[in-house]
């Protein structure tokens, strides 16, 4: 019974994390794209005149998509047409099962590993399930029975075949270094230090493998510069052209869920997962009080700084619009001051004198937080790259995949093997 509850709790945490990330990423994509291109971005949806810098837009989007008419072309293949979005979306969620999002948490004297399913073939599971998503894309492209969707599906297949191989080859090097397929082992291995000062992260021991992997992940998630399956300029919207309403929303959410899984994989395999560099878990537990105090002080300082930035905006934009929108920066000041106050309240509880039970909790909190921070950064990297690079041409894509990255992947394995045999 306890085991079931435990797994359920972890599933709920993971799904909540993904869903929140999806909403935040949609916002970050729009606002980030706008700011990168010197635009202001979405700022019209408002609740009572408050726009929260465009954060109200996802709510408006959901409402719009839910109440939109679900138009189905008469020439579709009904079963596959309806199945495809569910495959894409559920596959995107399933992959997270093996990602460790923390070391362990002691609940009622029992150590609970913070991973939903600690499979001993973790990486193979990821590769297997992630490539299932392509079936959804191809199915959508074929079942809609439209030239453009069909082309999108074909492009997705060709791209997946090319880059899945590179991904597997890049991971081979990592598997050799950590001699395990289990993701928890790999993350634990990345907590060590190389030559006593460098964290033994995947990116340090496998730099070329990392570059190959990150490029392959971008191709796998269908994100720029590899978003040929939906290439708007050539094939309208690609494989999801004939979908509307919530079925389209599923594709849309799946794209962002895939981004989050891609970011989680990059963070887990090459950037130490939940490991904090130079701060292994025993050290955190030993100095939990000190670290927590530093953390709270940092939160206070950072929030006060951001509150001051908002205060500057309050003064500058006093009469910009002449309605409720002028009061938005005031909300910002209040929010960040409230956060600073909460942190001060935490300091008042004397965190430096925390007990050993609390130390375990603090260590878990720090590591889970580290994982989320890495996740957010790499998810942002997807958006950042999308608004920096143009899309590859189809022949360039194939050239890069087969004639550049495949040989490099093979060479990486050979070099890794030679170095491992020598050292």
């Amino acid at each position: 019974m306890e085991l079931v509850l435990e797994i359920l709790a972890k599933c709920v945490y993971m799904i909540a994390l993904i869903m929140i990330m999806v909403v935040v990423l949609i916002w970050a994509e729009r606002k980030g794209a706008a700011f990168i291109q010197d635009r202001t971005g979405p700022n019209r949806a408002a609740i009572g005149g408050v726009r929260l810098a465009g954060l109200v837009h996802p709510i408006a989007d959901v409402l719009k998509l839910m109440f939109k008419e679900d138009i189905e072309p008469t020439h579709r293949h009904r079963a596959f047409y309806n199945l495809a979005p569910w495959i894409v979306f559920s596959v995107a969620l399933t992959t997270y099962a093996v990602i460790p999002f923390g070391d362990h948490l002691t609940v009622a004297g029992r150590k609970v590993g913070l991973v939903v399913a600690d499979l001993d073939v973790g990486i193979l599971y990821v590769l297997a399930v992630a490539s299932l998503g392509t079936y959804g894309v191809v199915m959508a492209g074929w079942a809609a029975n439209n030239k453009f969707t069909f082309l999108g599906g074909i492009r997705a297949t060709a791209q997946m075949i090319s880059y899945e191989i590179v991904m597997g080859l890049a991971l081979m090097g990592l598997i050799m270094v950590f001699s395990s397929l289990r993701l928890t082992d790999m993350v634990a291995g990345q907590g060590e230090l190389l030559w006593g000062f460098l964290p033994k992260w995947g990116v340090v021991v496998q730099p070329l493998g990392f570059i190959l992997f990150i490029v392959a992940v971008f191709a796998e998630t269908n994100r720029n510069p590899f978003d040929l399956p939906e290439g708007e300029s050539e094939i309208v919207a690609g494989y999801h052209l004939e979908y509307s309403s919530m079925k389209f929303a599923l594709f849309f959410m799946a794209e962002y869920a895939h981004m989050v899984i891609g970011a989680a994989l990059i963070a887990t395999l090459y950037f130490g997962g939940y490991q904090i560099p130079w701060l292994p878990r025993p050290v955190i537990e030993a100095h939990a009080g000190l670290l927590l105090t530093i953390k709270l002080v940092a939160v206070v300082l950072a929030s006060v700084l951001i509150a001051l930035l908002f205060l500057r905006r309050v003064q500058r934009e006093k009469n910009k619009f002449g309605d409720a929108r002028d009061r938005e920066p005031v909300l910002g000041v209040l929010f960040w001051l409230a956060l600073a106050l909460a942190a001060v309240g935490g300091l008042a509880l004397r965190p430096w004198a925390i007990g050993p039970a609390g130390a375990d909790l603090v260590a878990t909190f720090f590591q889970v937080g580290m994982f989320v921070a890495k996740l957010v950064f790499f998810a942002w990297l997807f958006i950042w790259v999308r608004w920096t690079l143009p899309r590859f041409r189809y022949d360039q894509l194939m050239h890069l995949g087969w004639k550049v990255m495949l040989p490099l992947g093979l060479a990486n394995i050979v070099v890794t093997a030679v170095v491992m045999a020598l050292v």
Binding site: F35, I36, D38, R39, T40, W384, T388
Partner: protein
Amino acid sequence: MLDAGSVMSFEGLPKGSGDKKLGFRDSIYLWEVVRGLGVTIGHLIHNILHTGEMPTRQYPEEKHVYGERFRGRHRLMQREDGSPRCVACQMCSTYCPADCITIVAAEHPDPAIEKYPASFDIDLLRCVYCGLCEEACPCDAIRLDTGIYEIAADSRASFLVGKEFLLTNDTDGTL
């Protein structure tokens, strides 16, 4: 016509344009990708810290003001007594390249004026805002100087504006 074997000339274009072969640094992409990421993040950070300097105009609240010579929606000029200055000479409707002006003339009670427009209709959907009617008018009766560029309505019929509308010289932008 270019045949298959001919080479395009890039003379006169900026240095580096054209289908030249990439050097090693460009062909591995990575360096240029990182440089590009630097450019975009620079814009992002600058725009977060200086939101006020963004060139975006918050349109319905902030409207663009065109120059004085901008040709906006038409208006009919009035005499001191409020009657139209137009003498229904049909010069503007004759000149109009879009054929959007329809004038029905009637006899004016004042013998010094001869005629006046019983109706003066402009189809704003056909008008190309060229201003030739302004040029043609012998008595400065029609002008396009309102500066109104938001010409929108719910039905085609409401774009057909008449004498009363043009004389009242509304500037609120609604039809």
